[in-house]
C-alpha cells in the first residue's frame, strides 16, 4: 500500500508540474526548456523553511512566491527574445540555476539538502494535499482558459504580431503566463521536496525540463486533459518498466519519438479522432 501511495503522489506532482508548464507553453505559446529550474526553486525554498521549523503547508506560499518572482524576472528578460531564441534562453536558465546551486554551501552545494522533515500528516496526508493542490491549480487553469485571458492567449500563441494589432497588451499577458506557470512549478517543487525528502541540483536539471515539456507535447499542446493524462502516464512509466529496468530509457526515448512521428497532435488529437469517428458512426 505504501508503495502505491508513493507512486500516486509522484503522479500528482508530475501532473501539477506539467499543468504549470502548459500555461506558459500550451496557453501562451512560449516554449520553455528550463521549467525544472522553477520546480527546484520551489523545492529549495520549501525545504529550507521546513528544515528551520516552519510547518510544511505554510512553506507553500513562499515556495510559489519565490518561483513566481524569479519567473517574473526570467519573463521580463524573455520578452526580448522569440521562438527558438526563447527556448534556448530558458534552457540557459536551468543551467544557471543548477550551476549556482552547486556552488552555494548554504544550499548544500553538490550534495544537496537531506533530512527534509517528513510531513506530520503522513504519506496519505501528503497524497491528499498533493491531490488538493492539483485540483486547485487545475480549476484555476480551466478558469484562465475560459476567460478572456485564455482568449487572448490563443491569439498570442498563434501569432504575436497579429495579437498586438488586435489591441492586446502582449508583454503583460506573457508575464502573467510566466508568473502563473512558475508559481505552479514552485508549488509542485514544495510537494516534491517533502515527498522525496532529499533534493540536490541534479533533480532539477535540463533532463527534467525536457521530460516535463515532453508531457505537455505528448498530451497535446494546450490541452488540459491531454496534458494530465500524458503527465500521469509518463511519470508512472518507470514503475511499469521495473521488469525491464535496463531498457527503460530506451523505451522512453522510442516512445517519445513514436508519439511525435505517429501522433503529432498528442493524446488530445488521438482522443478527438476517436470521438469524431464515433460521432460519425
Amino acid at each position: 500500500m505504501a508503495y502505491e501511495i508513493v507512486v500516486l503522489t509522484n503522479m500528482a506532482i508530475a501532473v501539477l508540474f506539467a499543468l504549470s508548464l502548459n500555461v506558459i507553453t500550451g496557453f501562451c505559446g512560449q516554449v520553455s526548456l528550463g521549467h525544472a529550474a522553477f520546480l527546484g526553486i520551489g523545492a529549495y525554498t520549501s525545504a529550507m523553511l521546513s528544515k528551520s521549523g516552519v510547518p510544511i503547508v505554510i512553506t507553500f506560499a513562499p515556495a510559489m512566491g519565490m518561483a513566481a518572482l524569479i519567473g517574473l524576472v526570467v519573463g521580463v528578460a524573455s520578452l526580448r527574445v522569440r521562438h527558438d531564441f526563447l527556448a534556448i534562453t530558458t534552457m540557459g536558465v536551468v543551467f544557471l540555476f543548477t550551476g549556482i546551486v552547486r556552488k552555494q554551501e548554504i544550499l548544500g552545494g553538490e550534495i544537496g539538502i537531506s533530512g527534509i522533515p517528513a510531513p506530520d500528516f503522513g504519506r496519505v496526508g501528503l497524497l491528499a494535499t498533493s491531490l488538493l493542490c492539483v485540483l486547485a491549480y487545475l480549476l484555476f487553469t480551466i478558469w484562465v482558459r475560459r476567460s478572456w485571458a485564455g482568449f487572448a492567449f490563443d491569439s498570442i500563441s498563434e501569432d504575436e504580431d497579429t495579437a498586438r494589432l488586435l489591441g492586446i497588451n502582449v508583454p503583460k499577458f506573457k508575464l502573467f503566463a510566466f508568473v502563473v506557470g512558475t508559481a505552479g512549478a514552485g508549488l509542485a517543487g514544495a510537494l516534491y521536496a517533502h515527498q522525496v525528502r532529499f533534493i540536490g541540483p541534479d533533480s532539477f536539471g535540463f533532463v527534467e525540463s525536457i521530460s516535463v515539456l515532453a508531457m505537455v507535447i505528448v498530451g497535446g499542446i494546450g490541452s488540459i486533459w491531454g496534458v494530465i493524462l500524458a503527465a500521469a502516464f509518463l511519470s508512472a512509466l518507470p514503475q511499469f518498466f521495473q521488469v525491464i529496468d535496463d531498457y527503460k530509457l530506451l523505451v522512453y526515448g522510442l516512445l517519445l519519438f513514436g508519439a511525435m512521428r505517429f501522433a503529432p497532435e498528442g493524446i488530445d488529437g488521438l482522443l478527438k479522432k476517436i470521438f469524431r469517428r464515433r460521432a460519425v458512426k
Partner: protein, 287 residues
Amino acid sequence: MLFFDLCIQGVIQGAIYALIALGLTLVYGLLRILHVAHAALFTLGGYIGVIVTNGSGSFLLALLTSMLIVGVVGMSSYTIIYKPLLNRTPLIALIASIGIFIASEELFRIFFGAYGLSYTNPPLQGQIEILSGVSLSHARILVVVLAIGLLSGVGWLAINTRVGIAARATVIDPEMAASSGINVEMIRFGSFFIGSAFAGAAGVMVSLLNNLVEPTMGAVPSYKALAIIVLGGLGSVRGALVASLALGIIESFGTIYVGHLLDRDSIAFAFLIMVLMVRPQGLLARG
C-alpha cells in the same frame, strides 16, 4: 604561461564545438529545426573511431570510416525523423529528436557497455614544444588543424561551386531557392551528410583526446551546440563558428577565474543570456 595555456585550451575546445555546430546550424537553416539527435552522431563517430583504430591499427582509416558512416546515418536521420514532420510545428520535431537522442544513448550502452571503450594503443600522443615550457600532443594539434581544414574546405565549396552557391541560397531562403529551380531535397541530403560527417570527426577527435568513448559523451554537446548556434544567430554559419570559438575561450578562462561561483555550463549560458539581452538576434544575423 597560464594565459597562453588557457587560450590554447579554448581554441581546441572551440574547434571541437565548431565541427559539431556546423551541422546543427545547417540543419536549422534548412529546416528550422533544433536537431538534438546530432549529438548522438557525435558519439557514434567516437565509437567508430575507437573500434576501427583498435581493429585495423590505422587512425586515418578510422577517421575516414567514421566520417563516412556517420554522414550516411545522418542522411537517414533526415528521412526517418524529420521529413515526415516538416509541416508540423518545429516543437514536434524537437521532441522526436530528443527521443531519438535518449534512445541512442541507451543503445550505445547496451551494445558497447556502460563503461565505454578506450584505444589499445592511443595514436598521436607525441609531444611538440611550441614555445618554451608549452608543449602540445600531436592529437591536440590535429584537432585544430582538422577543424580549420574541414571548415575552410566547406567554405571554399560554398563560395566557389555551383552546388555550394545553391546550398547557401537554400539556407537563406528555402522557398525562394525551390522556386528558382534548386533541388532543395538534394541540398538537404548533402548538408546532413557533411554536417553529420563533421560531427563524426569531432567525436573521433574527442575520443582521442580523452582516450575514452562512453554512452553519455553526447550529453554536453546536445545542449551546448544548441547554445552555440543560437549565440551565433540561428542559421548563420559564420556566426556559429565565431560563437564556437568565443564559447571555447570563455569557458576555458571562466572555469579558472569564476569557477568558484559557476560551473562550466553555467558560465557558457550566463554568457549566452547576456549576449541575447543585448543582441536578441545573436552575434551575427542570418545571411
